[in-house]
């Protein structure tokens, strides 16, 4: 690998400037640390360079190259109800890592030592309330955390405790080295390298991510969590996460994210694959709070994510819960392939857009097995001049006897300059299936506001109360702490949208 591909920089403290610019986004600080970043641009050399940086085995490089060669034949999709100029993929850097001698993943066989987490990075996570090795939160009893900083995982807590149960919880890069059979077996098995434009891109340049394996009949006693942070300017984050729940197991997995306030768009194109075997259950919760950009959403995160779970075994259950409040653009459809008989898919979503944010999000429920059932509850909130679209597919294949689907998607408009759209695709190919879909669009009623005010509750509180009530069916699916965070985020994201 040639030297011209990377450079090291030490950044000045520009935190204050950026936070003042970003206004309400409290995660908008920037961490000053020495980083090792690839020069902008993407070609086959860069793909090879990423792989070699991570010391990857040949099969992983082959996977990347296959994806890259497919990706260059594709065109950026624009079918979603999102307006953005086509991105210049040569203008992003595809690798960035804090430079400290023993940060994980660089060499792939990292054993984390507390002192090895870069001090500035550790500070950054601490101020976000994210436990990493060495900070006080690391001892929080009910959660294990994989913290990812730009392209690399910097710390994974509670691994030893989990290892005793046979649970694997580590960074993706590490899994490539430590558990190559598992990774090889499952990578690309749910989201193929050629699934779509952004999935191909991710497969080619995947940075880091989390790898989870829950062995047979093990109920993971604590929530597993990954916290993503994009720090570097003009970098993309392309994490790859794989969660495997073996027969009869259970895991609740949480994902949180943030990025500093920047004035240039940052790209996030993740792929998540979840495999659920017989009688197993995975609960996957996301609170997405990527930087949405300034008032005009300049410089916000462009969030193009492919998330898919397969209920491979009978009686398996896959549940997605998401609270989407950040990003300038969100393109995301966490989906369930209900392959096993009696399997269950769930999708609970709150998507809030404000200012000029755009979200085109929803789910796909593909019913293949008998007696499969799915539930979709989607709550869209649009404020400011934002556009919020629910796009969802329910497909019941001829084999899916007695399949059931219930869909409820409600939109609430806050202000008269925003848009709320509902685009469901419903394909029923088995008559024993029952499908119900309901959608409503409304705003906060004047009578509701007056009722609250007459009880002494001020307008802002009344609105926040009504909005949270609107989202309650989804928030109750989130783990408690996350639900609180989501409610707070909602309040912050709505600030200034009503007057």
């Amino acid at each position: 690998m040639s030297d011209r591909l990377e450079y090291n920089t030490e950044y000045e403290e520009i935190n204050e400037l950026l936070t003042s610019k970003s206004g309400g986004y409290k995660e908008g600080f920037f961490t000053k640390t020495k980083v090792n970043t690839f020069a902008k641009g993407l070609d086959e050399d860069v793909v090879r360079a990423i792989s070699s940086k991570k010391n990857e085995p040949q099969w992983m490089l082959d996977f990347r190259l296959k994806a890259y060669r497919h990706w260059i034949t594709l065109e950026e999709p624009h079918w979603a109800k999102l307006e953005y100029v086509p991105l210049d993929y040569q203008n992003f850097s595809y690798y960035s890592a804090p430079e400290c001698s023993a940060c994980s993943s660089d060499d792939g066989d990292s054993q984390l030592e507390i002192s090895e987490v870069d001090e500035e990075v550790a500070k950054a996570f601490a101020s976000l309330g994210v436990p990493v090795a060495g900070n006080a939160d690391a001892e929080k009893p009910n959660i294990a955390v994989d913290a990812i900083f730009d392209s690399v995982s910097v710390s994974t807590t509670k691994r030893e405790d989990l290892a005793e149960l046979g649970i694997i919880f580590c960074s993706f890069s590490e899994a490539v080295h430590e558990y190559p059979e598992l990774v090889q077996k499952y990578i690309g098995s749910v989201v193929r390298y050629d699934d779509n434009f952004f999935a191909s891109l991710n497969s080619a340049v995947a940075s880091d991510g989390t790898f989870v394996y829950i062995p047979e009949n093990v109920r993971c006693p604590i929530d597993l969590s990954t916290y993503f942070r994009i720090n570097e300017a003009k970098t993309g984050q392309f994490e790859r996460t794989i969660v495997i729940a073996d027969k009869g197991s259970y895991v609740s997995y949480l994902e949180g994210c943030s990025a500093p306030a920047r004035d240039a768009y940052q790209l996030h194109a993740a792929v998540v694959e979840v495999i659920v075997l017989d009688d197993a259950e995975v609960k996957y919760s996301t609170v997405q709070n990527w930087y949405p950009g300034d008032k005009d959403n300049e410089g916000g995160i462009l969030n193009f994510v492919t998330k898919r779970g397969i209920c491979k075994g009978k009686n398996s259950k896959m549940s997605w819960t998401q609270a989407e409040t950040g990003s300038a653009i969100t393109w995301k459809y966490p989906s369930c392939i209900l392959f096993g008989d009696n399997s269950i898919g769930e999708f609970y979503s709150v998507a809030l857009t404000n200012n000029r944010q755009q979200a085109d999000t929803g789910t796909k429920m593909i019913h293949i097995g008998k007696n499969t059932s799915s539930t979709i509850i989607s709550k869209g909130l649009s404020a400011g001049v934002s556009q919020n679209t629910y796009r969802g597919m329910v497909k019941i294949l001829p084999t899916a006897e007695n399949a059931r689907n219930f869909t409820q998607c409600d939109s609430m408009l806050i202000g008269d300059k925003c848009g709320a759209h509902t685009f469901p695709y419903i394909e029923v190919e088995n008559s024993t299936a029952t499908m119900e879909h309901e959608a409503t669009t409304s705003r906060i009623g004047d009578d509701q506001l007056f009722y609250c005010k007459q009880r002494g509750i001020g307008e802002e509180d009344a609105i926040s109360m009504i909005v949270n009530g609107f989202c309650k069916d989804v928030f109750k699916e989130l783990p408690l702490e996350f639900a609180q965070e989501a409610e707070e985020l909602l309040a912050i994201s709505l600030e200034g949208s009503v007057g």
């Binding site: 939109s411 408009l413 806050i414 190919e429 008559s431 499908m435 879909h437 959608a439 669009t441």
Partner: protein
């Protein structure tokens, strides 16, 4: 990155089909106006550049055209078949009838155009057919092949009690592309029944286009009864323009055709408009039935209501595609769209896209849709009261499918439609 994908070459098959339809009128002796000729040329060019729709087009992904592409339809040479059977297809209620056989007005069977109800004019214009310009492939095919427009003018304040009844009869394998232009004057009211029947097994390619303009305060109620034989193909595009405080009611009854596709585009061009749209779609064997609506709430204070019901048996495929669009500032909009489907066989398929696109906040919009079989509990309840299973199924199916007719106030028409639907259901069971 390769850009070639945008310019997929039109297939040879498509070129042959398009050229065929372009040639139908080219051999005519009629001298057409320059404007007409230009529109036909534009339509041909658009078709030749884009080709005919395939499953890759989002608007056509569920409507298979393979069987339609296999036959190149010509205009009927006239003559007509045995018309004695026609009487049994016609309703008994009083109406002003215009009967077209294979696209040609049959004056013997029709009421005399000089005896039209007061306040109403009908012209069959074959000199200046009204041709739309569009990007839609079947509208372009219409523009390419349309021979005549039935122009219906209803004077201001005229209250037509007698329904105008257009019957389009097929006796020969042929294409029919007759346009319909309906202008309802201020504060006028009218009912228009359009009935399509086949007297034998000859295939028809019906490709209709209707432009309906409803002036201030006026009301237009339209019934389309499509009962062509199962070798036929039915396409119909309707564009409805409503001035303030006007009302449009449309009832589409889909009983026949191998492939049928009916589309309403409703445009509210004034405030306080109301539109009611309903469909009853019965499909069996390998029928494909597609009913779609686009309702444009461009201005405030308008209301739209829709109920579309499909009953599908055997290998039938149903498609419902509805879009309620609410423009910025179209406050106090009330938009409601319901699609309910009953699947009677394991091989029937239903594809539904009820969409909302909303840019105003003070609105009440909703859509609902369900697909499923007959409720087993309902069946059992009937059986436990001594009703045979087959009868119980028929009872429940009928009750299900007749609901959209509830909004029809004219009892005679309502009964006639209910009877047609029942007959079709009974025949199939």
């Amino acid at each position: 990155m390769s850009k070639s994908k945008h310019n997929i070459a039109v297939s040879v098959e498509d070129t042959v089909i398009i050229s065929h339809y372009a040639s139908l009128l080219a051999n005519n002796d009629i001298v057409e106006s320059i404007a007409t000729e230009q529109l036909r040329q534009q339509a041909k060019q658009s078709l030749l550049t884009k080709g005919l729709p395939t499953k890759k087009d989002e608007q056509w992904q569920y409507t298979a055209l393979d069987s339609w592409k296999k036959i190149l339809f010509d205009y009927s040479q006239g003559g007509g078949g045995n018309l004695q059977d026609l009487a049994s297809f016609l309703p008994s209620f009083a109406s002003f009838k215009l009967i077209f056989v294979d696209g040609v007005l049959n004056q013997k069977l029709s009421d005399n155009l000089t005896n039209l109800p007061k306040g109403c004019k009908v012209v069959i214009d074959d000199k200046n057919p009204r041709l739309p310009s569009s990007q839609e492939p079947f509208i372009n095919l219409f523009t390419l092949t349309c021979k005549q427009t039935i122009v219906i003018e209803v004077d201001a304040k005229a209250m037509l009690e007698l329904p105008l009844h257009l019957v389009q009869v097929t006796t020969q394998q042929s294409i029919e592309a007759t346009g319909l232009a309906i202008n309802v004057g201020e504060s006028a009211q009218c009912k228009i029944v359009q009935q399509l029947v086949s007297l034998n097994g000859q295939a028809k390619f019906h490709n209709g286009y209707a432009a309906i303009n409803i002036a201030k305060n006026a009301l237009c109620e339209q019934f389309v009864v499509q009962n062509l034989n199962k070798n036929s193909f039915y396409f119909n595009n309707q564009v409805i323009n409503q001035a303030e405080k006007s009302t449009f009611k449309s009832h589409y009854i889909n009983l026949g055709s191998a492939v049928a596709r009916h589309e309403n585009i409703v445009i509210f061009a004034g405030e306080y408009c109301e539109a009611y749209q309903s469909s009853v779609v019965l499909g069996n064997e390998t029928q494909v039935a597609d009913s779609r609506t686009v309702t444009n709430h461009n201005l405030p204070n308008c209301e739209s209501y829709q109920l579309h019901k499909f009953v599908l048996d055997d290998y039938a495929r149903g498609v419902f595609n509805g879009m309620i669009y609410v423009a910025p500032d179209a406050q106090k909009t009330n938009g409601n769209m319901d699609n309910r489907n009953l699947l009677l066989s394991n091989n029937a398929k239903m594809d539904t896209k009820p969409q909302l696109e909303i840019y105003a906040d003070d609105v009440l919009c909703s859509h609902g849709c369900t697909s499923g079989q007959i409720d087993k509990n309902q069946l059992f309840y009937c059986q436990s009261r001594g009703i045979r299973k087959a009868d119980a199924r028929a009872l429940i199916t009928r009750a299900f499918v007749l609901e959209p007719l509830d909004s029809i106030n004219n009892l005679e028409i309502k009964q006639w439609l209910a009877e047609l639907i029942k007959q079709k259901l009974d025949k199939e069971n």
